[in-house]
Symmetry: C2
């Protein structure tokens, strides 16, 4: 791995995080800023640069002493050319040359990675997946993303977009997904799917305490209220969580059969509702997958939380952990 | 790779094939024998040994001069310990230590591999997949099996059973699969699935020329008659082939999103009906997958036919092409 401190930057839809870290995972400083998503790409790049400068300043290390800067970004990424090909969080960000835009601002070599891929490397090297060569990191929140670790490295595929497991079809005529297709895993088992099922049921007249739990203004139902209602014994909410658990389990079973991984590391907002959803999902995955790979697989909660992407981005400035 | 001629043996449910080949893929000899599947494991091992001895004799090379023997076997395989964990073709073959059984008979180091995994390596090194680092070999016949090539090597997973893509769930409440679960890809898009759909429709009174095309005695409907009837314009047969094409396409789309492969190499009996099924499948896969990885992926027909497994088994006697 590269020597010297590295900048790791996680570009999120609402907030962005920059850290300065050593290649052994020691974090020297961090800085958060709101991402001005609606103001266009140059404004976002400016804020990322400010964030990086602040993190460097907090660490007491000039930018010029950094080995490189790594960026974790939601979306399809062309690693080699440093381009964001498409992003769900950043509307209209197609073919954005983020690496060169940031290189201009920071005068550092810049490398970009998909955020779930980066988090997978973060967890492999510094988090819940340490020492496990064959594992899959899955982040379940508004969408479902992943990073595939095969033989101790990140598998990114022929053009760098591997790991879009959230868009495997589980129910061919199922609900519409954000990607425009139908019945994707993400449209059945993500936080968005849980919120949508709840909203549909309530519109159709199902009795539930869910509406009374909504605190946002304007009123917007999220998966959080569904989980809370389920915890309070609401039978409609329990039904929805149970359905999402089952779909989550089917997808996990598919991945067990396809990859025979030793470990799944689960991150994202839904993982914070672990006891409500993961045990049932895992039991179904064990039942639906072949027993030999199912017995081999374990599941762990991600350990690095919001820092996983930025820490992985630090490691991904070199090709050491990527099949290229 | 190991020097010297190598024995490659493909243990099939009905026939077994032994070849003697050089590590550059040159085949020096081959020998076929019927597999006495119903007579138990020792009888099968004896026939494999006879097959090997005959191939060695035809090549004019004594067994003792062979570098090793590689075996390709349908089923879940423990590569490290040389054990067949479970096999669909060989009833009751659970935990069979084939490597040591054959080592006793041949006095050679013996290495076993899953047959689709072996064929994937065969096609990678000597067939349709040469020079392509990220590819998936898929065999579609009575079942659907695969070998995943990532970064130029076979990915076998944490315990050696990766690649069971035929058992990814595509329709959670779909038809029962041979594995005992429901709605697996294999239960929707294999030759078995096509034959089953045809038989069900005919039982239910659908008009079709399919029954008149059956030549086997006792009467048994296979996918072959369905494809033949479709070619002759039978509308029921066309409907079934079209449905299987669609399910095939959904599974391919899933694999495009998950792996972002450069190439699919398609083998097995169904690939012989290429024009009837693959173009429609591919069109749907292109439509259902993300466009960036979809545009990157190509599809080719397997080139080695019946020799793929044995040739791959030759290469797999060393770990050179496996992520271990």
């Amino acid at each position: 791995m590269l020597g010297g401190p590295i900048l790791g930057i996680d570009l999120g839809g609402t907030k962005s995080l920059a850290i300065v870290a050593l290649t052994d995972g020691t974090i020297l400083s961090s800085s958060y800023k709101e991402t001005p998503s609606s103001k266009g790409r140059e404004a976002v790049a400016d804020v990322l640069a400010e964030c990086a400068v602040e993190a460097a300043s907090l660490a007491g290390i000039p930018l010029s002493k950094m080995g490189a800067a790594g960026f974790a970004v939601a979306g399809l990424v062309d690693r080699r050319n440093g381009i964001i090909l498409a992003s769900p969080n950043l509307q209209g960000w197609n073919d954005v040359p983020l690496a060169s835009m940031m290189q201009k601002r920071l005068s550092l070599r810049c490398v970009i990675a998909n955020d779930a891929n980066a988090a997978a490397i973060g967890e492999l090297l510094f988090g819940a997946g340490q020492g496990v060569k064959d594992q899959i990191f899955i982040t379940i929140s508004t969408g479902i993303g992943a990073g595939i670790i095969a033989g101790g490295r990140l598998y990114i595929g022929a053009s760098g977009t591997a790991g879009e497991i959230g868009h495997m079809t589980i129910v061919p005529n199922g609900p519409k997904c954000g990607c425009g297709r139908y019945g994707c895993w993400e449209a059945l088992a993500s936080g968005t799917a849980i919120a949508r099922s709840a909203a549909e049921g309530i519109s159709a007249g199902r009795q539930s305490i869910i509406p009374s739990l909504i605190q946002q203004n304007p009123v917007q139902l999220s998966a959080r209220e569904v989980f809370e209602a389920a915890r309070q014994g609401d039978s409609f909410a329990r039904e929805i969580v149970s359905q999402a658990s089952n779909y989550l389990g089917i997808g996990l079973a598919n991945l067990i059969n396809i990859f025979n991984p030793e470990l799944f590391v689960i991150g994202g907002g839904i993982s914070k509702e672990w006891d409500s959803i993961m045990p049932q999902s895992w039991a179904l995955a064990q039942e639906r997958a072949f027993s030999l790979p199912a017995q081999k697989a374990r599941m762990e909660k991600a350990a690095l939380n919001d820092f996983a992407g930025a820490m992985g981005a630090v490691a991904l400035v070199s090709d050491e952990y990527v099949w290229t």
